[in-house]
Amino acid sequence: MIWFLLRRLGFALFTLLVVVLLTYWIFFALSPDPAAQICGQNCTPDRIAQIRTTLELDRPFFPRFFEFAGGIFAGRTIGSGPTAVYCSAPCLGYSFQSGQNVTDMIVSRLPVTLSLAIGSLVLWVIAGTIGGVISAVFRGSWWDKAAMTAALAGIALPNYFVALLLQYVIVVKLQWLPFPLNDPSISDPQSWFFSYLLPWIVLALMYSATFARLTRANMVDTLGENYIRTARAKGLPERLVIGKHALRPALTPLVTIVGLDFAMLLGGALITESVFGLQGVGKLARDAIGTNDQPVIMGVTLLAATAVVLMNIVVDLLYAVLDPRVRVAAR
C-alpha cells in the first residue's frame, strides 16, 4: 500500500512537471509580447526593451524554465543587486500587472473557491444520489420522468444563464435571499451561507444532473443483478436491499466522476464566480487571461493540474475503501 502510494505520487510529480513545461512553453512561444501590452500606446522601443529586461523576457527559454520550475520546489531569488527579492517555495513568480506574489494571490483566493467547491459538492452528491436512486427504484414513474427531464435541462442549460436567471428571480424579484456579498467570510456564517447558496445551487444543478443520470443507470443495472434477487429472497427489508446491496456498487464507479468534477472546481469555477462576482481563483484566472498576465495564468493552471492529479490519487484510495475486493487484490 505504501509502495503503491509512493509510486502514484512519483508519477503525479512527473505529470505536473510535464504540465509546467508545456504551459510555460505555450506562453513563451505563442502568446503576444507582454512587454508591449504593459507599455501601452505611447511606447518607445527603449521602454519595451527595458520592461523585457525587468521581466527577464529577453533570456532564453531553458534557463528561464529551470529557474521557474526550481522556484516552485525550492524558492528562488528574482533579480540581482539591491532590487533582488527572495521568493520562497512554492514560488510562482510575480504578477506582470500588479507586481504581487502569485502564490499569495492564489492563496488569498482559495477560501472562496474552496467554499464554492465543497458546498456544491455536498449539494450535488446528495441531490444526485437521491434523485438517481428514486428514479431507478421507481423507474417509469412520474418522478422518474420529472427528475430525468430536469437533469437533462440541468445538463443542457448553460450555467451563466441559470445563474443570471436564479439571481434575477430569487434575489431581485422575490427577494428571498439577501444580495450576495462579493467576499463572504466564514466568520459570519449566516451571510456566508446565503451568499454562497445560489452559486452552490447553480453548480450543483449542472453536476448533479450528470450524477443523477449515471446513478440511475448504474442502479438499474445493479438492481437487475441476481444477488439482489437473493437478498430479497433471503428476507432483507427492501431499504437494506437498496442501501446495502444495490447502492454501493452503483456509486463506486461514480467516485471517479465526482473526484474529477471536484478537481475541476478547485481550479476555479470561471463562469459561476464571474457571474456572482465572487473573488475566487476562477475570477483571478479570468482577469489574468484578459490582461495576459502570464505568471498568474501559469499559477492557476498549475493549481488546477495539481488538483486533478491529487484527486486522481484520492479516488484510487477511495476505491479501495468502497470496494473491499480491491483491498484483497492489492494485498
Binding site: 443483478e225 441476481n226 444477488y227 434477487r229 437473493t230 437478498a231 430479497r232 429472497a233 433471503k234 428476507g235 432483507l236 427489508p237 437494506l240 446491496h245 454501493r248 456498487p249 470496494d323 473491499p324 475486493r325 484483497v328
Partner: protein
C-alpha cells in the same frame, strides 16, 4: 410422505406478463396458467419441464419473489404478504441457479450467511453470529476458516454450498432450489445433491426442486410434477413417472434424454447418477 396437510401450497397460480407492442396495443403472455401445487413436509417435489414451460415463474411465485396475477400462496394454510413477508421468508428460503452471480461479490461469506438470521430477527445464538456461521459452514462441508473470504475466492460447488448454508441458516421448513445444481459440473452436482439429501434427513426440510435435468430428478425427487406451456400436465411419484408416464408430453420429455435408461434406473430406485449414463 403425503396425505397430511401441505407445508407450502400454490393454489390456482397464474402469471401473465404484458408487454407493449406497436401501435399502443398491449400483448399479454400467460407464463403460468392455473397451476396448483402442494409440497408436503419432508418431501422433495421436482418440478420439471423444458425451457419456457413456466417452472421458474411458478417457483418465484411460490417463493413470493413475484406476485401472482391470480391465485394464492399458502404456507401452513395461511397467506403471508406485505408486512408479514418476513415471517414467510423465515420458513421459505431459496437456492438459486448461478452461485456466483447470486451472491453479492462485495460481501464476505460471514455477512452473506448471517444476514438472513440477523434481519429476520432470529435470537442471537449463545456463541455469537460468527460461531453460528462457522457451524453452518461446517455443516455444508466448507472450511469454517474461510468465513472472511469473498464469493469469488471459491469454486462453483463451494459457492453453491455458501448459498445452501445461507438458505438453511434460518432453519426454514421449505427450501426452493431453482435450478440449484444446473450450473455445476456433473461430479460436483452429485456431491451437492448428496449434501441436500443429508440435510433433509437430518432436519426434514421440504424441497421444491426446479430443474430440467432428469438425472437430477431421479436422484433426489420423491414426487414429480411435469410442466408444459404454463400448465402442470402430470403429477406422480418418481417411480410412476419414470416407469409408467401417463401423458404424451411426459413420455416425450423422458425420451428426449437418450442417454438415460430411465426404466432400469428408476426400477433400481436408489441409482447413483453415473449408473444412469452409458
Amino acid at each position: 410422505m403425503s396425505g397430511n396437510a401441505p407445508v407450502l401450497a400454490g393454489k390456482n397460480l397464474t402469471r401473465r406478463f404484458s408487454r407493449r407492442a406497436s401501435f399502443g396495443r398491449t400483448e399479454t403472455f400467460t407464463a403460468v396458467d392455473d397451476v396448483s401445487l402442494e409440497l408436503h413436509s419432508g418431501e422433495t417435489l421436482a418440478l420439471v419441464g423444458e425451457s419456457g414451460s413456466g417452472k421458474s415463474t411458478t417457483a418465484r411465485m411460490l417463493a413470493q419473489l413475484i406476485t401472482p396475477s391470480d391465485g394464492t400462496v399458502e404456507l401452513g394454510g395461511r397467506q403471508y404478504a406485505g408486512r408479514r413477508l418476513g415471517e414467510f421468508r423465515r420458513q421459505v428460503q431459496v437456492v438459486f441457479q448461478d452461485p456466483f452471480s447470486s451472491l453479492n461479490p462485495r460481501h464476505r461469506v460471514e455477512q452473506i450467511i448471517s444476514a438472513p438470521m440477523r434481519y429476520l430477527d432470529l435470537p442471537k445464538p449463545a456463541g455469537g453470529w460468527t460461531a453460528r456461521v462457522k457451524e453452518l459452514m461446517e455443516r455444508v462441508g466448507l472450511n469454517p476458516d474461510h468465513s472472511q473470504r469473498f464469493p469469488s475466492q471459491f469454486s462453483g460447488g463451494q459457492a453453491q454450498r455458501i448459498g445452501i448454508a445461507r438458505a438453511i441458516a434460518v432453519e426454514p421448513s421449505v427450501v426452493i432450489c431453482d435450478e440449484a445444481v444446473s450450473a455445476l459440473d456433473v461430479s460436483v452436482q452429485a456431491r451437492v445433491l448428496e449434501l441436500l439429501r443429508e440435510l433433509q434427513q437430518q432436519d426434514h426440510y421440504s424441497y421444491l426442486f426446479i430443474t430440467h435435468d432428469l438425472a437430477v430428478v431421479r436422484e433426489i425427487a420423491h414426487r414429480i410434477a411435469v410442466m408444459s406451456q404454463g400448465k402442470i400436465v402430470e403429477t406422480g411419484d418418481r417411480q410412476q413417472i419414470f416407469t409408467n408416464p401417463q401423458q404424451e408430453y411426459t413420455r416425450t420429455l423422458l425420451a428426449a434424454v437418450p442417454q438415460i435408461k430411465y426404466q432400469r434406473a428408476a426400477a433400481a430406485g436408489q441409482a447413483a447418477p453415473e449408473t444412469g449414463r452409458t
